[in-house]
Symmetry: C2
Subunit: 350 residues, 2 copies
Amino acid sequence: MKKITIEDVAKRAKVSKGTVSAVINAKTSVKPATRDHILEVMKELNFRPRGMAMNLKNGNLDKSIGIILKDINYPFYTSIALGVSKYANSKGYSVVVASSNDSHECEKKLTHLFSAKDIKGVIIAPVVEGTAEIEHLFRLKMINYPFVLLEDVKGIQANVVAIDNKNAIKQAVAYLIENGHKNIVHFAGPPQSSHTQERIEGFRHAFSESSLIFRDEMIVSIGSDFDECFKKTKDYFKNLHTEDYPTAIVCFNDHQALAVILALKELSIKVPDDISIIGNDDIYYARIYPVPLTTIRTPQHEIGIKAAEILIRAIESPTLVSLERVFLSTEFIVRESSKIIKTPSLQKAN
Amino acid sequence: MKKITIEDVAKRAKVSKGTVSAVINAKTSVKPATRDHILEVMKELNFRPRGMAMNLKNGNLDKSIGIILKDINYPFYTSIALGVSKYANSKGYSVVVASSNDSHECEKKLTHLFSAKDIKGVIIAPVVEGTAEIEHLFRLKMINYPFVLLEDVKGIQANVVAIDNKNAIKQAVAYLIENGHKNIVHFAGPPQSSHTQERIEGFRHAFSESSLIFRDEMIVSIGSDFDECFKKTKDYFKNLHTEDYPTAIVCFNDHQALAVILALKELSIKVPDDISIIGNDDIYYARIYPVPLTTIRTPQHEIGIKAAEILIRAIESPTLVSLERVFLSTEFIVRESSKIIKTPSLQKAN
DNA sequence: ATCTCTTATTGAATCGATTCAATAATTTGT
DNA sequence: ACAAATTATTGAATCGATTCAATAAGAGAT
């Protein structure tokens, strides 16, 4: 099946290409009769004008940026997208979002797509599971395509807006220890995720800076899929004597924390009376949960705004080549899913 | 500031356009020394190849479709996007998502953007607040651009995949009446939303088919913004004598229902013992809530799959012009936020 | 040093629309 | 009925890349 071009339409309608073009672009100069006839022919031939060709002549005026997220169904990411949209729209940019579903292959495809479509730049929450593959990022650099990463990726110099994962968890654990918790465990995320590793390290580090000592059993592999978390949490407690129950669980993320709370409910373990639960991320639903979640807030909105700001600057000032690396701080938010076991001992000011 | 083209690079590097093109496309035939030199010049001039021009020559091979949602932060919509992605990816299509934020202006801009970028087709959850503006949809028809609507829009013939809102609510109310509820109210959504109106009508209709009679006070305008719902719910009950409390509230959507449950908790009204709460949509969080939500499930995943299926068929079989209109049925899902007041009376089978 | 055989590079033609000055057709005024 | 004014239509040049056959440069063999 041959491709239909504006020329085919022009021939069939016995007019010039220029007139057909005028009809497509709703120019008023076309006589209604001609116009109707051309529209009919367009329909007959099922003519779909090529957007690429249309835009080539006039430069490429639209303002648009893209975001590639790992999971469009996790509110954490859509909140970032909201921040991006807010800033971008205020600067006249449209925003398109795509989900890489944690697949390198998909992320690569999407960066190609965005650049090929002359989307002006892209913000990427990069997939870094396993060995990070970054040739596609190098390609973007080669073609001087502006992009901002939402996670520091080893091996490439780029604009980055991110948070300090390790320190975030440390904050939380330090708080628990400070408030009298002694038996604390970390429910770790999916083994292949880089975040999982970072958070485990943060957890260990908090212990090394305290009077308590770290033991390997404190790290429990739970994952982040809801049903899996739910099941593994129940299994964990079934294999434990009541007197060995931890007094606090630091979760991989809020989603996992929600699953854990639900599992505990089924086991008739009270949150926070029996066990304190600490989330991570502060997704929208953490706040509106019946047991509002104590969590480590990552400033999703601000990340989005900052990333958009850097991206648009890179797009609009092509001469400015300096890279920006911004690390935003997390905030520990105490809500109702955690409690204090004893008031902290007085400390010397410092 | 002048636009840099491949020709500028070629001149500066003292090679032909063909060689520069070969470098950009990572062709192996280029001698490393030449290649490096050209890359340097590209960097110097900050040359960004125009994707449009690149694609013009070879046709436009990529497979991609778009989705325009009203709110990328409401899980209902991202679940639809997930369904779309699933089907589209299986057919080799990439998916890009955009949020219209309930703005006609934005929706229009985005349809332009997608068609201009030669995204092959688009699925639209159309904004229909106020007077639906649909000239942009007519434009899509004119250029024979394939699209599928996720809501029936008056005044235009198009592919549609949707559900029957009115009937969905009717189902729920009928269930409540059947199970002994007599004092039922509907917490309506934002006044300007078309869904709000449809759901109110469904609610009334359910009454007209029962032995109970409808009264205007049964419709309470609550909205769907979380904080607003929360506040208005509390106000509603504060102005009500305890003996006048409804035994069941049919909510506009799950999000509202969650806000209502939280407000009731603060008022020490027990769900479902004192009041049954019925949601609408069955978002992901409805299921994993500590009081799992009784709700009217809209098959989000299936909607996405069906819409993608129709869209891709329209893209790939341009001659097939027949329009499809699919209405999927909702399912009433009883979970723990509602209870039966008395067992239903025996009925004649039919 | 010369002739092959590879390997690199060139550049004119091409993709499919838009543009706009030139020209044709139609309407208006007298 | 004719000139002038207005409105519609034409078509060659253009946008910025890719392509690929033709050609040039470099490597190896004698």
